[in-house]
C-alpha cells in the first residue's frame, strides 16, 4: 500500500453564526496517499470547501475545528505553530481556491502574486522567479505570459484568473495539492491541459491531490478514489471505478443520474428531488432520508454507520447493510433507478 | 539663517564663561512691522527703532522731565514759534550729517498726506519747519501747542537720515543716529542690530542686539530659562510668579503710563443718565480686580496715571468709590437692570479678564450685562462706530503727556475716530484745548488735572488700573533703562 500523505480523522468543523453554532463538517474521515488523487464530490453547500479549508487551517474567522485530527505525512497539523504551518503552506501543501476573482489580490500584479511563493519557499532571485512564473503561466496555458505578469486580476478573464491561481498553487511543487473546483471557469481544451499538468506533476513528484469538483467527467478522468459528501458527512468512498460502476448510496446514484450527457441529445436530466437540508436542521437518522426514495423506517431513526462494500468501497447507508450478501449489481441498479 | 542664537549652540562647548559675549537676545511676541519711524505705529517696531533712531527730546525716566537729546536747547520766540538748537557733529549711521535739514526733512515727510503716515496727527499742529542754519530749526505751529516737545519725543518723531530715506526703504534698512545700527532682518524671525562704533555719545558695550520673535510668552519664558533668549518684557500677570521663580532671571517692574478703563458709550441716552453711570461706577470693585493682577497694576481712580504729565495725587480717590449697596439701590430705583447691557470686549491684553469680572460685579448689583467679545480689528471698527453700551479701552501713553491722552480719546473733535467713548463735553473740551494751546507747562498741568477731575466727577470713565511695565532679564544683564511707557534703551547695557 502506498504511503499515506494526508490523514483526516473524525473532522468536525463548525461556525458561529447569529443562528448559533452550525456544524458544516460532521465527523469526516479520509486519507490521501502519495501519488494519488482523491476527488470529493457532493451537493453544493455540503461542506467540501470547508473540509479542505480545515486541512489548510484557513477557516473563516467564525469557523473552528471542533474535533478530529489532521495529519500530513504523519505529523499532526493542529499541533504545528502558526509559523510552522506557514512554512508548509504554499510549499508542502497548497490550495487552489474556488473563486478566482476574490481569491486574487486586486491591487497586486499577477507577477507579484506568482513570484511570491517562489521567493518564499525557494528563495529565488527576482529574475529567476520571473522566468519561472512565465514558465508556470505557459504550463497552465495562459497566453502572453510576460505581459500578464504586469497585469492586474481585474484585467483578466475568469478562466485566466483561475489559471493564475493554479499556477500559484503549483509553483513550489507541493506534495499535497488541494484543488477546489480548479477548472470550472476553463474551457475544455485548457481544462484538459491543466488536468494533464496536474497529472504529470503527480506522477513526477508523487504528489497527492485532493480535488473538489462537480464535473463527473473530470472525476472520471483524474480520480483514483472518490469521496461523496452529503450535508456535511461523508456518505460514500471508494475507488473511482467502483463509484461510477457500482455506486452504493442512493445519493451517489442520483448524482450520477443528473450528469448531462454530451453524446446523447435526447438525454433527460434527472435531478434528485428536494433540497439539501440546512446545516442546523435537526434530522434524525440518515440525513438523506427525507429525499431518499428507499428510505426505510430505520433510516428515519438510526444514523447509518459506514459499511464496507468491498474493494475499498465504503458507504453509509442501511441499504448496504441489508445487502451484505451482495445482490446482483445490475439488478440493484435497476431497483434503485426506478 | 544667519545667526545661531547663543542658547542653541550652548551644547557645543561655547559655554566657557570667561569672556561673556556682549549680546542681548530679546524676545518679542510679534515681529516689527517696519523700521521707519514715519510709517509705523506699533510698539515692537518702536522698541527696535528706539535703539537705532533718536529724537530731538526725550523724557527722563526718573524725573519724567523732557530733556534735549539730539537737540541742544530750545526757545520759544513766541507762542507759535519754537527755535531748536541742534547738537553738533552728529552723524547718521550712513555718514550723513545730522543737521537742521534732516530734521526739516523728517517732520515734513511725516506730515505730508502723501506719506500717509499712521501718526501724522502727532505733528498736525506744525505749520512750517525751517532750517535756519546747519544747527538751528525753527518750527512754527498753527496755534499755540503746549505738548509739542512731548510730541517730538515720541518715537514716531525720531529723526531719519534724508539720504538714506531717498536711497533705500527705511522700513527694511533703517538709518538713524542711535547707538545701534541695523545689521539684518529675517522677517518674522529676528532682527539683528550691531554696535554703532561711531555713536556720538560713546559706543555702547553691547556688540549685538537680537530681536527674536517668540509669539508665545510662555515659550519665551522657557527660552529665558534655557538661555536661548535673555531679555523679555511685558510679562502677563498670570506668568509673573513663574518668571520670578526662575533662578537666573531678574524681574524689573516699574509703574507705567498705560491706563485701562471702562467707558460708557456716551452717545447713548441711557449712558447720559448720571445715576446710571454712578450706579455702574459704584458697582465695580476695582481693588479686587487690581489684586488679581499680582502686582502688575496700580490702583487709582485718576484717568491720567501717576506717570503721566497732568496727574495729581488727589485724583487717586477722586472717582466714585465701590459701594455695592448704593449700586444695588440705584439699579433698583431706576430699573437699570431691565434692559440688557452689551459689554464689548476686545480679545487681547486683559480685556476679557476685566470683562468677566466687571460683568459679574455688575450682575451682582442687579444689572443685566452680556459680554460680547471680538477680535481686534473688528473691535476697532465697532467701537469707533459706537456700537456698544459699555466697553474697555486702554491707552499706552508714549509721550507721557496728559493732552496726548485726553485729546484723541475724549475730545469731541475725534468722535467717529479715536474718541471711541463718543464723549462730548464742551467744558472738558475747553480744558483740553487749553492744555494743548498753552505753552507754559505748569499751567498746562492744572488744566489737565481739572479735566481729569471733571471726568471723574461725571463718572465718564471708570479706571480699572494703571499699567506696570515689566522686564525680565538674565542676571548677567546690567544697566537696562526701562521707561514708564514700556520702552527701553540698551545704550548702557553690559553683560557680565
Amino acid at each position: 500500500m502506498a504511503e499515506t500523505l494526508l490523514e483526516v480523522k473524525n473532522l468536525v468543523t463548525s461556525f458561529r453564526t447569529a443562528e448559533g453554532s452550525l456544524q458544516a463538517v460532521r465527523n469526516v474521515s479520509f486519507h490521501v496517499d502519495k501519488g494519488e488523487t482523491l476527488c470529493i464530490v457532493g451537493e453544493s453547500g455540503c461542506g467540501k470547501s470547508i473540509t479542505s479549508l480545515s486541512v489548510m487551517r484557513l477557516l473563516p474567522s467564525n469557523g473552528t475545528i471542533e474535533n478530529g485530527e489532521i495529519q500530513l505525512s504523519g505529523e499532526s497539523l493542529q499541533r504545528l505553530s502558526n509559523e510552522q504551518m506557514r512554512q508548509l503552506r504554499g510549499n508542502k501543501m497548497s490550495m487552489i481556491f474556488q473563486e478566482p476573482m476574490t481569491a486574487l489580490n486586486p491591487v497586486l500584479t499577477i507577477g507579484y502574486q506568482l513570484r511570491e511563493p517562489l521567493f518564499l519557499h525557494h528563495k529565488l532571485s527576482k529574475a529567476e522567479a520571473n522566468n519561472q512564473s512565465i514558465e508556470l503561466l505557459r504550463q497552465v496555458g495562459l497566453p502572453n505570459a510576460e505581459k500578464r505578469l504586469n497585469q492586474y486580476p481585474h484585467e483578466l478573464s475568469g478562466g485566466m484568473r483561475q489559471r493564475v491561481m493554479i499556477a500559484m498553487a503549483l509553483a513550489c511543487h507541493p506534495s499535497l495539492l488541494i484543488a477546489d473546483e480548479p477548472t470550472t471557469a476553463l474551457d475544455v481544451t485548457i481544462q484538459a491541459q491543466i488536468l494533464d499538468l496536474i497529472k504529470d506533476l503527480k506522477d513526477k513528484l508523487n504528489m497527492g491531490v485532493l480535488m473538489i469538483t462537480h464535473d463527473m467527467g473530470v472525476v472520471a478522468e483524474v480520480a483514483d478514489r472518490v469521496m461523496v459528501m452529503y450535508a456535511g458527512k461523508k456518505i460514500e468512498e471508494g475507488p473511482v471505478r467502483e463509484i461510477f460502476e457500482n455506486p452504493q448510496h442512493p445519493y451517489t446514484i442520483g448524482l450520477l443520474n443528473s450528469v448531462p450527457n454530451v453524446d446523447d441529445p435526447e438525454f433527460e436530466l434527472e435531478p434528485i428531488p428536494g433540497n439539501m437540508p440546512g446545516l442546523n436542521e435537526k434530522i434524525t437518522g440518515c440525513r438523506f432520508h427525507p429525499r431518499c426514495k428507499f428510505a426505510m423506517d430505520k433510516c428515519k431513526t438510526d444514523v447509518p454507520p459506514e459499511f464496507n462494500a468491498g474493494k475499498g468501497h465504503y458507504a453509509s447507508c442501511w441499504l448496504v447493510d441489508k445487502e451484505v450478501e451482495p445482490v446482483d449489481d445490475n439488478q440493484r441498479k435497476t431497483i434503485l433507478k426506478v | 539663517e544667519s545667526t545661531i542664537p547663543e542658547g542653541t549652540t550652548s551644547g557645543e562647548g561655547t559655554t566657557s564663561s570667561e569672556a561673556v559675549e556682549q549680546e542681548v537676545i530679546y524676545a518679542s511676541t510679534t515681529d516689527a512691522v517696519g523700521l521707519s519711524p514715519i510709517l509705523t505705529n506699533d510698539s515692537v517696531s518702536s522698541s527696535v527703532m528706539s535703539q537705532i533712531y533718536e529724537n530731538l527730546f526725550e523724557r527722563n525716566p526718573e524725573t519724567m522731565e523732557l530733556e534735549p537729546k539730539l537737540a541742544e536747547s530750545y526757545e520759544n520766540t513766541d507762542e507759535l514759534t519754537w527755535v531748536i538748537k541742534l547738537k553738533e557733529g552728529i552723524e547718521f549711521q550712513d555718514g550723513t550729517p545730522f543737521n537742521a535739514e534732516a530734521v526739516k526733512y523728517t517732520f515734513e515727510k511725516l506730515i505730508d498726506p502723501a506719506t500717509a503716515a499712521p501718526r501724522a496727527s502727532l505733528l498736525e499742529p506744525i505749520d512750517t519747519v525751517t532750517a535756519i542754519d546747519e544747527t538751528t530749526v525753527e518750527i512754527k505751529t498753527k496755534y499755540p501747542y503746549g505738548p509739542l516737545l512731548a510730541a517730538l519725543s515720541h518715537s514716531n518723531a525720531a529723526i531719519i537720515s534724508p539720504t538714506a530715506d531717498e536711497a533705500q526703504d527705511l522700513m527694511q534698512e533703517p538709518v538713524g543716529t542711535g547707538p545701534f545700527k541695523f545689521a539684518s532682518w529675517n522677517q518674522g524671525d529676528q532682527i539683528v542690530l550691531e554696535k554703532n562704533e561711531d555713536y556720538w555719545d560713546g559706543a555702547p558695550d553691547l556688540d549685538r542686539v537680537t530681536y527674536k520673535v517668540v509669539p508665545e510668552i510662555s515659550t519665551a519664558i522657557s527660552m529665558l530659562q534655557t538661555g536661548e533668549v535673555n531679555f523679555i518684557d511685558a510679562l502677563p500677570s498670570e506668568q509673573l510668579s513663574r518668571v520670578e521663580s526662575l533662578e537666573n532671571v531678574e524681574v524689573t517692574k516699574k509703574e507705567g503710563t498705560p491706563v485701562y478703563y471702562l467707558t460708557f458709550n456716551h452717545s447713548e441716552e441711557r449712558n447720559q443718565n448720571p445715576d446710571f453711570r454712578k450706579a455702574v461706577a459704584s458697582a465695580i470693585d476695582r481693588d479686587a480686580f487690581v489684586e488679581k493682577l499680582n502686582g502688575l497694576g496700580v490702583r487709582s481712580d485718576s484717568i491720567l496715571g501717576p506717570q503721566v504729565f497732568g496727574y495729581e495725587e488727589s485724583a487717586d480717590n477722586g472717582g466714585t468709590a465701590y459701594d455695592p449697596e448704593a449700586a444695588k439701590q440705584l439699579v433698583e430705583e431706576n430699573g437699570f437692570g431691565d434692559e440688557p447691557i452689551k459689554l464689548l470686549a476686545a480679545n487681547r491684553d486683559n480685556f476679557i479678564l476685566m470683562a468677566e469680572i466687571v460683568q459679574a460685579q455688575l450682575t451682582e448689583a442687579g444689572f443685566n450685562v452680556e459680554i460680547e467679545t471680538m477680535e481686534w480689528a473688528t473691535f476697532l471698527d465697532t467701537a469707533r462706530a459706537g456700537e456698544y453700551d459699555l466697553t474697555f479701552l486702554s491707552w499706552s501713553n508714549v509721550t507721557s503727556d496728559g493732552s496726548e491722552m485726553f485729546y484723541p480719546n475724549f475730545h469731541s473733535d475725534n468722535i467717529g475716530a479715536s474718541n471711541r467713548a463718543q464723549y462730548s463735553n464742551p467744558e472738558f473740551d475747553k480744558l483740553v484745548e487749553a492744555s494743548r494751546t498753552t505753552v507754559d507747562q505748569q499751567e498746562r498741568k492744572s488744566y489737565l488735572a481739572e479735566a481729569n477731575q471733571l471726568m471723574l466727577d461725571e463718572d465718564a470713565a471708570i479706571v480699572m488700573y494703571h499699567g506696570v511695565v515689566t522686564a525680565a532679564t538674565d542676571q548677567s544683564i546690567q544697566g537696562l533703562q526701562l521707561d514708564p511707557n514700556g520702552q527701553w534703551f540698551l545704550q548702557n547695557v553690559t553683560r557680565e
Binding site: M56, L58, N82, R86, Q87, L88, R89, N91, M95, F97, E99, L104, N105, P106, V107, L108, E116, P117, L120, H154, M168 | I4, T8, T9, G11, T30, V33, G34, N41, P113, A116, A117, P118, R119, S121, Q187, G188, D189, Q190, V213, V214, P215, T219, S222, M223, Q225, T226, E228, A377, T378, L380, D381, R384, S394, P408, N414, G416, A417, S418, R420
Partner: protein
C-alpha cells in the same frame, strides 16, 4: 496621466481665480478696516482717510479686485499693507519652515499612526487595541499648545536635550533636526491619531478578504500578509487622510508655529487676517490652495497605483 496633470493645472487656475475672489469679497464684507489697524487706536479721521487713499481702499470693490487680479496674473502679488513689503517675498521666507515642519510631522504621524493602527487592527479589541485607541484619542484631544508646552518643559527646559523653539538651521544639520523634533511631534500627534484610526478601520475591512486567505495559503509571512497584501488594499482611506493632513499642515498650523516660535505661513496668514492685510491673506491663501491642489493631485495619482481599477478619464 499627463492629461490628468494638465487638466488639474487648468482647473487650478480657475480655482485660484475663484478663491481670490472669495477671499477678496469676504475681506471686503467682514468687519474691520486695515487702515484702522495700521493707524491703531490713536489714528484720527484724517490719518485713516490718508491711509485708505494710499492703499486704494476707497476704490469700488470691483476696481480693487480687477487691479489685484491684473497684477497677480503678471506675477505681482502686491505689497503688504502692514510692512509695505512684497507679499511674495514674505511668503517665500516662511514657506520653507512650514514645509520642513509639515514634512517632519507627517513622517512622525505616518510612522506612529500606521503602526499603532496596525497593532489595533491586528489585535482587535484586545488591551493593546484599547491602549492604542486611547493613545490616538489623547493625540487628537490634547490641545497642541498644551502638548507643546509639556514637551518644551520636559525636553528643552529640564533635560536640555533640544532647543525650546525657533527654526533657523538647515534641516540636514544636527541642529536643524533638533529644532524639528518637538514641533514635529506636537503637530504630528493629531494627524497620527487620525491615521491610526483610519488604518485600523480600513485594515479591518480587508483583513478577512479571500485574497488575504490566498496569501496565507501561499505561506506568505504574516508580516507580508499584513504589510503587502492587506495594507495595500486598505490604503485608499489612509492615503486620503494622509493627503488631507499634509495639505492641512502645509497651510501652516498656527498653534504649533506659535508655541515653537517657528516663522511659518500659518502664523503669517493669521496675523495678516487679524491685521486685515488683504494682499498678504490673498497671497498665503493662494499658496495654500495651490499646495493643496498639488497634494491632492499626488494623492489621486497615488490612488491609481494603489488600486489599479481606479481610473479618471
Amino acid at each position: 496621466m499627463i492629461a490628468l496633470i494638465i487638466r488639474r493645472a487648468l482647473q487650478l487656475l480657475f480655482l485660484l481665480f475663484g478663491i481670490s475672489f472669495l477671499v477678496f469679497s469676504s475681506m471686503y464684507i467682514a468687519p474691520g478696516d486695515p487702515a484702522a489697524v495700521i493707524g491703531g487706536p490713536t489714528a484720527t479721521e484724517s490719518d485713516i482717510t490718508a491711509i485708505r487713499d494710499n492703499l486704494g481702499l476707497n476704490d469700488p470693490f470691483l476696481t480693487q479686485y480687477a487691479r489685484y487680479v491684473g497684477n497677480a496674473v503678471q506675477g505681482d502679488f502686491g505689497y503688504s499693507y502692514q510692512t509695505t513689503q512684497p507679499v511674495a517675498n514674505a511668503i517665500m521666507i516662511r514657506f520653507p519652515n512650514t514645509l520642513k515642519l509639515a514634512i517632519a510631522s507627517m513622517i512622525v504621524a505616518i510612522i506612529i499612526g500606521v503602526i499603532t493602527g496596525l497593532i489595533s487592527a491586528l489585535k482587535q479589541n484586545s488591551w493593546l487595541d484599547i491602549s492604542a485607541t486611547t493613545f490616538a484619542l489623547a493625540g487628537i484631544s490634547i490641545p497642541n499648545f498644551w502638548l507643546g508646552a509639556l514637551l518644551i518643559l520636559v525636553f528643552a527646559v529640564n533635560l536640555q536635550w533640544l532647543p525650546v523653539g525657533g527654526m533657523s538651521n538647515p534641516f540636514y544639520t544636527i541642529d536643524g533636526i533638533k529644532e524639528l523634533i518637538l514641533p514635529a511631534i506636537t503637530l504630528g500627534t493629531g494627524s497620527a491619531a487620525m491615521i491610526a484610526r483610519m488604518t485600523r478601520s480600513s485594515m479591518l475591512e480587508v483583513i478577512r478578504a479571500d485574497y488575504v486567505r490566498t496569501a496565507r495559503a501561499k505561506g506568505v509571512k504574516e508580516k507580508n500578509v499584513i504589510w503587502i497584501h492587506t495594507l495595500k488594499n486598505a490604503m485608499i482611506p489612509i492615503i486620503t487622510v494622509i493627503g488631507l493632513n499634509f495639505g492641512f499642515l502645509l497651510g501652516g498650523t498656527i498653534i504649533t508655529e506659535k508655541v515653537f516660535a517657528i516663522n511659518g505661513v500659518g502664523r503669517l496668514m493669521i496675523d495678516a487676517i487679524a491685521a486685515r492685510d488683504f494682499p498678504m491673506v490673498q497671497g498665503s491663501v493662494l499658496l495654500v490652495a495651490t499646495l493643496f491642489v498639488v497634494v491632492n493631485l499626488i494623492v489621486d495619482i497615488v490612488y491609481t497605483y494603489i488600486d489599479p481599477r481606479i481610473k479618471y478619464e
